[in-house]
Amino acid sequence: MSDVTLKNVRKSYGALEVIHGIDLDIRSGEFVVFVGPSGCGKSTLLRMIAGLEAISGGDIGIGGRVVNNVPSPQRGIAMVFQSYALYPHMSVYENMAFGLRLSKAPQAEIDRRVNEAARILQIESYLSRMPKQLSGGQRQRVAIGRAIVRDPKVFLFDEPLSNLDAALRAQTRVEIAKLHETLDATMIYVTHDQVEAMTLADKIVVLNAGVIEQVGTPLELYRSPANTFVAEFIGGNKMNLLPVKGSASGVALPNGRTVPFAGSDLSHAVTLGVRPEHLERVGADSAQISGAVEVIEQLGEFAIVHFRTREGDEMTIKLGGAPDIALHEDIHVALDPAVGHVFDDAGRALRAPAG
């Protein structure tokens, strides 16, 4: 059993509370990603699970045992740090063997486990090198190797890819996914990058200002964000949010046109959310919203077009390929109520699109 449970976990520094009572169940073997903007408390939460930060309130359980006062090494966890945190004075082999040496494991056992981890990560050829002779990507592998050697119940990753360049980050992301498949261990992964969260997680925990905004699978969060924070945070391109007036039958756009939503009472609606990829570019006659193009981000495969509506709201639309549009031109869009998100004045979702 290697599930992790958090019950009303709190953290405060003096009078300042930074984690406000987190409840979370992580099942054995799950890949859970804590995601949120910097300062949201995600790293602090991870460090509390690791035993590097004291818990101010609540309980943390690992494998069915409350570990609030259990020192890190006895929690059955291994941690991969953002800076890799390799011991600079030890070879790659010794870096990975350090934990086993401290626990007085026999040399044959150390050899076996270090070589096994090195094989999985394909770092066998530089076991005798020093960390400073390695590239960033290689150091990252050694850091992961050091975690594997400990044979932990739970792997903790603290923004492990943020020091790598973009290409290496994408590649390592895939390798971490494979590693999870191979090791079948519980993994908790902290990142501020929603792409990492979406691609790696079985379950995403969106944190903001010390509270959980939403927990769910990547698709659940993408399709049914519980509030405007999650709606804006999750998704490759930031969701458009428009001020609207709700009514029993639908919502009225700033330009007065009504988007009908059947079957739900939306009289408290104040915000309409629609993702750039769900907007449709149409001709002037069937337009629901019209505006002038301000920026075109051309990415080849698709383009993100930023435009300002006649009412002054900024919006973006994602258009496939290389769209035939120029700066300052008029653009007309329509939205299908099936893909619209509606939020009340507290930012809570009133209605999620179907599918």
């Binding site: 690791a50 035993g51 590097l52 890190s72 090494p73 966890i77 291994a78 941690m79 740090f81 953002q82 800076s83 945190a85 390799l86 011991y87 600079p88 004075h89 350090f98 934990g99 401290l102 626990s103 050091r146 400990r150």
Partner: protein, 296 residues
């Protein structure tokens, strides 16, 4: 390694030459004085009297005297004890412990301790000597505050525990340097590396011994190099405090050298002592410089 000269400098070489002049004078003066000391060490030159004028070459007589006459070897031993306990054990270990424990503190206590050890460093040697002399005297603070109230006879510390008093005074005087150096060194150790060791199961002692100390080893070697050189040739505080006494209990090499040269007046012998000190410090420095190098 090949150095590239800045383009501006390359076309204005006279600037380099001009800048080199003070250095050349300085190095020249150092070599000149060292050369004279070396030359005198092979003579029977004296400060006053006939041999101050009509000196003669005596070969290695002065060096032989270092080992055959009483004085040098005893002083070397005293200096070794003094350096080992006040610099290497005292200043270094105490400086490290203070740096390691205080760096996590943000309290008034830290400020007080830092100010205290800085004061020790900043107070002139002669003033420090007077303070220690007064504090440890038979009618001094320690006797009045601790010894007498406990019902013991007052102790004249400088007479009865001369070397320990001098060692403690020098620890007090010099710990600030080691503290500052180790504080900076510890700041250079990544917090995550120490935490990684914690997760790996290292106890506090193992984290220090197997992770932090190896990482700051070059800093330790640098510190050792400096404080050994300073302490080995240290003169003013000891001289002002005890004058080398009582008897010759605190007669370190610097004081022995001073007495032989300027009180006894044997400049030739004194020069030989200084050359011997130079050699000893040089050998120690080589040892530390080896430590500074990264392991292959």
């Amino acid at each position: 390694m090949k150095y590239q000269l800045h383009p501006w400098l390359a076309s204005n070489l006279w600037v380099l030459v001009a800048l080199a002049i003070p250095a050349i004078f300085l190095i020249g003066a150092l070599l000149y004085f060292t050369g004279w000391a070396l030359a005198f060490s092979f003579t029977d030159l004296e400060l006053v009297g006939r041999k101050a004028v009509n000196w003669s070459w005596v070969g290695f007589d002065n060096y032989a005297r270092l080992f055959t006459r009483r004085g040098f070897l005893e002083s070397l031993w005293t200096t070794t004890i003094f350096s080992f306990f006040s610099a290497i054990v005292g200043q270094s270990v105490l400086g490290f412990l203070l740096a390691a424990t205080l760096r996590t503190q943000r309290s008034v206590l830290r400020g007080v301790i830092e100010a205290t050890i800085m004061l020790g460093w900043l107070v002139p040697d002669i003033v420090a000597a007077f303070l220690w002399s007064a504090t440890t005297a038979q009618t001094g603070l320690i006797n009045n505050l601790i010894i007498t109230p406990l019902g013991f006879e007052p102790v004249n510390f400088i007479n009865e525990f001369a070397l320990p008093v001098v060692i403690i005074a020098n620890i007090w005087k010099g710990t600030a340097w080691s503290y500052l150096l180790f504080s900076a060194a510890l700041d250079s150790v990544s917090r995550e590396v120490v935490e990684a060791a914690k997760v790996d199961g290292a106890t506090a002692f193992q984290r220090v011994w197997r992770v932090i100390l190896p990482i700051i080893r070059p800093h330790i070697a640098t510190n050792m190099l400096f404080i050994t050189i300073w302490t080995f040739t240290y003169f003013p505080l000891i001289y002002a405090l005890t004058g080398g006494g009582p008897g010759r209990q605190t007669e370190v090499l610097a004081i022995f050298l001073y007495k032989q040269s300027f009180m006894v007046g044997k400049l030739g012998y004194g020069s030989a002592i200084s050359v011997a000190m130079l050699v000893i410090v040089g050998v120690l420095s080589l040892f530390y410089l080896r430590l500074l190098k990264e392991p292959k």
